[in-house]
């Protein structure tokens, strides 16, 4: 977007978080995406969420596939390792990375082409396995980097910039994630940061497969009349089911009264995630109810956003595999190699 370098100086009164970092310490290289791209707002939301949650930047591993969305990990968390993998295959690389070191926070950033088209298989299986991660699809319904072809999330009947009407049925990523066993499923909108940042924070706190579908308009190729992924369309059809607040148990925070009341979801670190209900009676811990609600509103042309489902007691891949607490990349000869004596026993059993 810009070729001007960021200033090195910062204002001396900028706030530091509990681990001593400025918000700026969570930023990355300058974005090369188009001005107004929804993806840059998501990067900014990620920066804010990590800073607010006092996460040490280097304890995050960012992984992505190929496409505009997958370029973004270069533009936030510059002190984290990042891995721009191959198209549609980020989930498997993230899975392997997570197996190697269970102590880092794994952030998978992908797009709708990357996850719903070429990578649908890996998307499905990473959810099934319950990999402890935050998986974000920056969903604009279009291939930006190759200039405007439809992706698999484009709505049937929506129109491309060149006037072509999409005839294929769309893939709804949140419905899919719910069906496949993701234990935290949300949808946000890059144009609503106030909603998005808490959704990301909730996903980071979640100790299982957390998925956020973020509708993120492509200003270059999918922000016109006839598109169902434009700023205008999403603003007009956004149906939020709830808003998230984070409450540190140490400080008593008075929750703002909301029409539907609120639900508290305890977090692994002892804090509490408080959900203010917007939709009357919506229960985000009811998986089947969530699927039903999303399908009904989808039929009405509404984009349901908010925290759609959360399992307060997720079981992750490492628990399934019963692996040791020590990350595998720290295991040494003593833990890994049985030695010459054991091998002599093997030889004896093979004679």
């Amino acid at each position: 977007m810009t070729y001007l370098a960021k200033p090195r100086l910062h204002h001396p009164t900028l706030a530091r978080n509990k681990v001593g970092y400025l918000r700026r310490d969570y930023e990355g290289a300058i974005s090369t995406l188009c001005a107004g791209c929804g993806h840059d707002s998501i990067s900014a939301a990620l920066v804010q969420a990590c800073w607010e949650l006092d996460i040490e930047p280097h304890r995050v591993a960012k992984l992505s596939g190929i496409g505009c969305s997958s370029k973004t990990p270069d533009y936030f968390l510059g002190n984290s390792h990042g891995f721009n993998t191959v198209h549609g295959r980020m989930p498997s690389v993230l899975t392997g990375a997570n197996l190697a070191n269970r102590e880092l926070l794994y952030l998978g950033v992908s797009g709708d082409g990357d996850s719903a088209s070429i990578g649908l298989g890996q998307f499905a299986h990473v959810m099934r396995r319950g990999v402890d991660m935050v998986y974000i699809v920056e969903n604009n319904g279009v291939y930006g980097l190759t200039k405007g072809q439809f992706s698999a999330t484009a709505d049937q009947g929506s129109k491309s910039k060149r006037g072509i009407v999409n005839s294929d049925a769309p893939i709804d990523m949140v419905s899919l994630a719910l069906q496949l066993g993701a234990t935290y499923v949300a949808r946000g909108f890059s144009g609503d940061k106030a909603q998005l940042v808490p959704l990301i924070k909730g996903a980071i706190e979640h100790r299982g497969a957390a998925f956020i579908d973020v509708v993120s308009p492509c200003v270059a190729f999918n922000n016109h009349a006839g598109s169902t992924k434009s700023y205008e369309y999403v603003r007009a059809h956004n149906e939020a089911v709830n808003r998230i607040d984070f409450i540190d148990l140490a400080e008593e925070v008075k929750a703002e009264a909301a029409p539907g009341g609120y639900v508290d979801v305890p977090q692994a670190d002892g804090s509490m995630m408080r959900l203010r209900r917007i939709a009357e009676g919506y229960d985000p811990t009811d998986r089947v109810g969530a699927m039903n609600y999303i399908a009904q509103h989808q039929a009405l042309g509404e984009v349901v956003t908010g925290l759609l489902y959360v399992d307060p007691h997720p079981v992750d891949m490492h628990a399934h595999l019963n692996t040791t607490d020590t990350p595998f990349n720290r295991l040494g000869e003593a833990e890994l190699i049985p030695g010459a004596g054991a091998l002599e026993g093997v030889n004896r059993s093979l004679r």
């Binding site: 993998t85 498997s92 396995r129 093979l350």
Partner: protein, 618 residues
């Protein structure tokens, strides 16, 4: 015991003298798969081994679970030849579907052991083969009530009869039963009974034959093991903590054996928790992706696959090469292309692996000859992958992987440490050392890397498959690209000295002819060389154990007028690689190619080399 109706049908061969041999012959079992023959056949081989005589059995099986033909060929060789010789001295023909070709395969003067329950007309036999009929079905039907038991025990009754004919001691087989059915007294008892049922019949009704097993002490301390199990154990000793795989014949048993070894060796005794993660992925794209992710994050990881899996993994292999991530791939080769011959053996993935991916790439291949080297090379591959930060292939094949082979005992040096390669840790970063992820600091082409999460402000970088400068920043300049590609070549050159070196064997007299071979061709080659030498054809040989080729390979070729390159594929892939990499004159390399899916035989090699040397002499 009541004598069955068709008792003792032995048709003497009229046209030829019966074969006679002690501890040197080939017995082949023709069976139907799913009939329980496999375990009885393996007992047959093990019993001979326990009598101190080397054997080398091979399964020739279909891509099927039940009902199709399967064979088990046992080479008995006191001299210790473990390859296929070629030809069959005794056929145990238990499959009517393949009767004709089985009978045809027997050497003149050889023996045909068959089930004589049903009458077979004389034209289905050969005049120059001694037929030994035994009414196996009839005996089993008379003894056992239940149909599955009839079928399973038929194999053991047959084993009993063969043990008498060939002089295999019954106590040896009984001891093997004892080990196999430890704590299962009922099974042990019924198997011993069936064995003696067969033995008694043979003693009473069958005439003796010319093939004999006699007790020797020619096995020594060698072990009897499958290559896939050995490769899996090599991965344990190489320190692999992540295994991601997708089922494919003939490699599935690598991951399965790894799982079994890890149950034994990788459970934390205090917590009962696992020091390994084994994931059956959704496909080979995912299995290699997981290995790449784990390798990037500092754990040792491997996958095992076969040809079609390699094709699917190719994009990721290119990424791992270019982004420089340690990856270990055990490729148990089978017959290609496409689905090809999934249950047959070949060495036909050499080029596909050596140059896998689009763009300019070169990969390290290790070429084990037997299970012992499967163990050693897989452990070494994990070290090499870390040292070189690149994919390393262990190129085994079905012949080594899925057959039980007599081989050197496995050994390990406890003072050996894992070579984790050039990794900058917290202290090195903190000391202010310059970190350029793709910077060649030592001139060997190998840069330093960091594991994610090491240091709060130093050493983080963005890994990508796109071009970058030595400090891992995105770059599209030609200069950065060329620097990187040339450094990768330098790194490949460094690998030459690190990989297992070739093994050279000199002919008794100074030779002008040479032969190059590798992998599962070894045992057949050993025998062929001995026979050729007896016939006055002396060859110096070089057994390749890795790619890239060390400089000694070119020197070997240069030192000989003509060099045979023996390989198990159609297109002379190793020869192409030698020509391509070493700039040698292609005319000096003469291919000996065997690629029908069965393991190469000594007779085939002898035939081809003899023909070529005679032609050139005349």
């Amino acid at each position: 015991m009541n004598a069955p109706i068709n008792a003792g049908q032995v048709r003497p061969a009229s046209a030829v003298r019966p074969l006679a041999a002690i501890n040197d012959f080939v017995v082949k079992f023709a069976n139907v798969n799913g009939s329980g023959s496999a375990s009885a056949n393996e007992l047959f081989a093990r019993a001979i081994l326990r009598m101190g005589v080397p054997v080398s059995p091979r399964n020739i099986f279909p891509s099927n679970i039940q009902g199709l033909p399967t064979w088990y060929e046992v080479r008995v060789s006191e001299k210790g030849w473990l390859g296929r010789r070629g030809g069959v001295d005794m056929m145990v023909a238990m499959n009517p579907q393949t009767w004709e070709r089985d009978v045809k395969e027997i050497e003149p003067g050889g023996y045909l052991f068959y089930d004589s329950t049903k009458f077979l007309p004389p034209e289905r036999f050969r005049d120059d083969v001694i037929a030994i009929g035994m009414p196996l079905t009839e005996i089993c039907n008379a003894t056992y009530g239940e149909s599955r038991e009839r079928q399973l025990m038929k194999n053991i009754v047959c084993l009993g009869a063969l043990s008498v004919l060939l002089g295999i001691e019954s106590t040896v087989i009984e001891q093997l039963f004892g080990e196999q059915y430890k704590g299962k007294e009922r099974l042990l008892d019924s198997n011993v009974k069936a064995l003696h049922l067969g033995r008694d019949y043979a003693t009473q009704c069958l005439e003796s034959i010319g093939l004999r097993i006699e007790r020797r002490d020619a096995v020594g301390d060698r072990i009897f093991m499958e290559g896939n199990s050995a490769a899996a154990l090599g991965a344990v000793y190489g320190g692999a903590s992540v295994c991601a795989w997708y089922p494919i014949t003939p490699s599935s048993s690598v991951a399965e054996a790894f799982t079994a070894w890890c149950k034994k060796f990788r459970i934390d005794p205090e917590t009962g928790r696992s020091r390994v993660a084994i994931v059956q992925a959704e496909d080979e794209l995912a299995s290699i992706g997981m290995v790449v992710g784990a390798g990037w994050n500092g754990a040792r990881a491997f996958t095992a696959t076969s040809g079609p899996g390699i094709s699917l993994m190719t994009e990721f292999i290119g990424l791992a090469y270019f982004a420089e991530i340690p990856v270990t791939i055990v490729n148990v080769q089978r017959g290609g292309p496409s689905t090809g011959m999934p249950t047959r053996t070949q060495q036909a993935d050499l080029i596909a692996c050596a140059y896998a991916s689009h763009g300019d790439t070169k990969h390290v291949l290790l070429l084990p000859e037997d299970p012992t080297e499967c163990f050693e090379h897989t452990a070494a591959a994990l070290d090499l992958a870390d040292r070189l930060q690149t994919p390393v292939f262990v190129m085994t094949d079905l012949d080594i992987g899925m057959n039980t082979r007599l081989c050197r005992p496995l050994a390990w040096d406890d003072s050996k440490r894992m070579d984790r390669g050039k990794v900058m840790d917290f202290d090195m970063l903190e000391s202010g050392r310059d970190f350029g992820r793709y910077l060649d600091v030592d001139g060997d082409g190998i840069p330093f890397r960091t594991y994610p999460g090491t240091h709060p402000t130093k050493g983080a970088y963005f890994t990508r498959g796109t071009t970058r400068n030595p400090y891992a920043k995105y770059s599209e300049t030609g200069q950065d690209y060329v620097y990187n590609m040339e450094r990768l070549l330098r790194k490949f050159d460094t690998a030459k000295a690190l990989v297992p070196q070739p093994v050279v064997r000199r002919a008794r007299k100074k030779a002008t002819l040479g032969a190059i071979y590798f992998g599962s061709t070894s045992p057949a080659m050993d025998e062929a060389l001995e026979v050729l030498d007896e016939h006055g054809v002396g060859l110096d040989t070089m057994r390749l154990r890795a790619f890239p080729f060390p400089d000694s390979v070119k020197a070997f070729i240069d030192a000989h007028e003509k060099v045979f390159v023996v390989e198990q594929n159609r297109d002379a892939q190793m020869k192409s690689m030698l020509v391509n990499e070493l700039q040698v004159d292609p005319h000096r390399l003469v291919s000996v190619l065997h690629y029908d899916g069965t393991p190469i035989t000594a007779r085939f090699i002898i035939g081809r080399i003899t023909a070529a040397t005679t032609r050139s002499a005349s």
